[in-house]
């Protein structure tokens, strides 16, 4: 049973990461590739705070707020950049964060990582075993998903979609598009930070190697497979990953070929989905009006 809880908890974390990324990438059209950096910052912040005596609730909140603040900072400096540039600036930001995590020995112990991260303890209840931790994660995920649902389905969410479709038009309708973009990006970072905190206390050992760029590809696969710009997309994406790919682990193939094979299938499906079904499984993300994008294409 524990293995089920273990996988289910991982599923919740992937869902949080995919939906939070979907909020700014799929709904608002902000092509930022630093989601893993927010996840890592959240994990380290939460682990370090709890290991230095802070109560879990405080550490959990800080794990969300810190990346959110950084995202606002990053956003302010580069929001006016065109999509390609923003993609690279945020990739650069992610590399900077990874380099700092590896080099700031006094704080993060560099590559030695942080071991023995205590299990969360809220109001005296410690969520030590797999089942209780899963219920905690599932609870938090449900709450965050509900809030994100309300955000995306409200007039606020509708404005985000207009910004994605045609920012210039949205501006001429009196929408402060920069403020909306920063908010969407900030919320995405906040939720990624929460997921990071849960991950740290779940695996109880984190090192810079767990927050590298190719983890980003997995989340991109989930979001795109499920359907960018749709609320149900990430749910379908995570389901596809867990139902279709996880069992591959039980294939009789020698393990050394199984790992790369799974990754290979992920990337193949990712490319094929974008090529033939850009709107993904449950998606309606269509390649919106070209004018909306920064470059006028023929």
């Amino acid at each position: 049973m524990n293995y089920f809880y273990h996988l289910a908890t991982l599923m919740c974390l992937y869902l949080l990461l995919a939906q939070s990324m979907n909020m700014y990438l799929g709904f608002t059209g902000i092509l930022a590739l630093c989601h893993i950096a927010f996840y890592g910052i959240g994990a380290y912040a939460s682990a370090l705070l709890v290991m230095h005596g802070a109560p879990f609730e405080l550490a959990f909140l800080a794990a969300g707020i810190l990346p959110a603040l950084l995202s606002i900072l990053l956003g302010l400096t580069s929001i006016r950049l065109k999509a390609d540039y923003l993609g690279i600036a945020t990739l650069g930001f992610a590399q900077i964060v990874s380099s700092i995590l590896q080099n700031w020995d006094s704080l993060t112990r560099g590559a030695l990582g942080l071991a023995g991260i205590p299990k969360p303890e809220i109001f005296g209840v410690t969520f030590a075993d797999k089942a209780s931790f899963f219920y905690l994660t599932a609870g938090i995920t449900a709450v965050l998903m509900f809030v994100m649902y309300r955000i995306l389905k409200s007039p606020f969410g509708r404005v985000l979609e207009t910004i994605r479709d045609d920012e210039v038009a949205a501006m001429s309708l009196g929408k402060n598009t920069v403020a909306y973009k920063l908010t969407a990006f900030g919320i995405g970072a906040l939720v990624a930070g929460f997921a990071g905190s849960l991950f740290a206390h779940f695996i109880t050992f984190i090192d810079p190697a767990s927050f590298v760029i190719n983890d980003l590809s997995l989340i991109l696969v989930i979001t795109v497979l499920g359907g960018l710009g749709t609320f149900r997309g990430p749910f379908l994406g995570v389901l596809a990953i867990m139902v279709f790919f996880e069992p591959l682990r039980f294939l009789p193939l020698p393990a050394e070929y199984l790992g790369p094979l799974r990754l290979w299938i992920y990337s193949l499906l990712f490319v094929l989905t974008l090529r033939f079904v850009p709107s993904g499984l449950g998606g309606l993300w269509k390649h919106r009006s070209r004018r909306g994008q920064q470059f006028t294409r023929y």
Partner: protein
């Protein structure tokens, strides 16, 4: 500062290989207006193809290089013809995200076949020919000279090709305004195919040079792509000399930046990538069009 000459050469060596990849990136951007995240992986592919032919099969240098460059060009062509070209009408988002997927596909394919562990070209105890200049202050091997020279030769060749050859002119027309180019009878599809063949071939060759100087691992493609992006943005989008200068600048910044000890304090070398990316962020904020590129606003407004 006796180690400065050595640092400069180190910077030149790593810079020229980055420049080779940046050139291809800049060419592809010039036409399809998107940053190809898979381009660095083509260089990694080149390193592994060369390893297979030169080390595993033991072919001599030149045939191995030729077949490697050809294969890389073919892979670039295939991905363009089946993935990038059909999606050219999409927003450049979709192209960007799909190029991340293509990059993953290449990396995982190599990892699947070559079972992931890192390798190196080092032959049994074959010491490279070493040349000493200015006493011992500057030491450079013949391989390293080959890298710098071939980078410049390729750059010059590409520059003249674009300036004078018929195909070169059509490629430049394409990057200025694709629909216009189509109207005046340039076969757009063939030109774009040629661009991918050309840039993938150069990237494949860059992969060989890199693997000669350093080790090769399936993950190196990603790192190369990102460094090449920085070079392209520093140098200015769509400009070939820009990509060269940007690549060299990155190499020098990283090596001299971490090498110099000013007043007893020096940046630890593990912060190397930190320097490159901080410069990237600075350029993106204050001079997004880089040193030689045309600013996007002007480019767009003229077309509006």
């Amino acid at each position: 500062m006796d180690i400065l000459p050595q640092l400069l050469i180190n910077g030149l060596i790593s810079g020229s290989t980055i420049a080779l990849i940046a050139v291809g990136l800049s060419l592809i951007f010039g036409v399809l207006k998107f940053m190809n995240f898979a381009h660095g992986e083509i260089a990694m592919l080149g390193a592994y193809f060369y390893y297979y032919f030169f080390i595993t099969l033991g072919w001599p240098v030149l045939p191995s290089m030729a077949i490697t460059v050809a294969l890389c060009a073919f892979v670039g062509f295939l991905f363009n013809r089946f993935i990038f070209w059909p999606l050219r009408k999409e927003s450049q988002w979709t192209l960007l995200i799909v190029s991340v997927g293509v990059g993953m596909l290449i990396k995982n394919s190599v990892q699947l076949v070559a079972s992931g562990s890192t390798r190196t070209y080092s032959q049994a105890n074959e010491p490279s020919v070493v040349h000493h200049f200015f006493g011992d202050a500057l030491i450079i091997t013949s391989n390293q000279i080959l890298i710098i020279v071939s980078a410049f030769v390729l750059m010059l060749g590409l520059f003249f090709f674009l300036k004078y050859s018929k195909l070169g002119k059509s490629i430049r027309a394409l990057s200025d305004n694709m629909s216009l180019a189509g109207v005046v009878g340039i076969d757009i599809r063939r030109s774009v195919d040629w661009i991918f063949v050309l840039s993938s071939a150069i990237a494949g060759f860059a992969g060989i040079l890199i693997a000669y100087e350093e080790s090769l691992t399936p993950n190196m493609g990603q790192h190369l792509s990102i460094l090449a992006f920085v070079a392209v943005i520093l140098g200015g989008l769509g400009s070939i000399p820009g990509a060269l200068v940007g690549g060299l600048l990155i190499g020098l910044l990283q090596d001299v930046g971490t090498g110099l000890t000013i007043g007893g304090y020096s940046i630890p070398s593990s912060y190397k990538s930190l320097i490159a990316f901080s410069v990237l962020i600075l350029f993106l904020l204050f001079r997004p069009r880089g040193l030689f590129g045309i600013s996007l606003e002007e480019d767009k407004s003229q077309k509006e």
